[in-house]
Point group: C2
């Protein structure tokens, strides 16, 4: 079950407005949506680059996951999301191969997509999201 | 000057073979090239996911940049590469807007592409590569 493309790259930033300005000014990209995801304690800003979105993440809570990530590792890429068909089957496949799951079943993420996370300890250190792709 | 797509995502890993196995087994991707880039002191392995390549990076030298990255931050995403036209002009544009450049002019990277890096202190913490896209 191959992913069709990289759905998005999530980037943890300290200041959403500064980071938006960078992508708009330097790469002439347009931020098309800013959205608060209360459950993840983040404000997110989205850009499109070909098939992939850049998703900037600013924490809304010092105890939130993005705040803790920045504390530990500094600003930078927080996760990569692969677009897949049949996300529930993909999760079962990963679990069968000994991958530790953060989400054992899909849940709703930003932009209303079904998503789930794999644990970085099983993935050579990358927090990997899989994301149902409705368009394939 | 918009990038056309994310050319690749560079991921720093401790063990190239383990990481290759993960992407092959879990996502059914095929590693199509393994290449040593002596100048960067890395062995690299490539996969295609839609428009984007996953480039795994294993250090060949404890003093190399990928080794130092892992020491400081752990395994994980090391850089993102944006495909652009006219890379030299893009570099001048970034410099004019106050971005600190690692490479003030393009040089050869993996797979023979012209590349240059922007410094993470100017980019909200992400090591960004720009990469001449011959196909656009």
């Amino acid at each position: 079950m191959k992913p069709s493309h990289i759905e998005h790259i999530g980037i943890a930033v300290r200041n959403l407005e500064d980071a938006i300005r960078f992508y708009e000014k330097i790469f002439d990209l347009k931020c098309y949506n800013i959205e608060e995801v209360a459950e993840q304690k983040v404000r997110t800003a989205f850009f499109r680059v070909g098939q992939t979105k850049i998703e900037l993440l600013e924490s809304t809570d010092p105890e939130g996951p993005v705040s803790k990530f920045i504390e530990k590792k500094g600003e930078g890429v927080h996760h990569i999301a692969f677009a897949v068909k049949k996300i529930a089957e993909q999760l079962k496949h990963a679990e069968k191969h000994g991958i530790t799951l953060i989400d054992s079943s899909p849940r709703k993420g930003a932009e209303g997509l079904d998503i789930a996370f794999l644990h970085p300890k099983s993935t050579s250190g990358v927090l990997i999201e899989i994301c149902e792709d409705k368009n394939i």
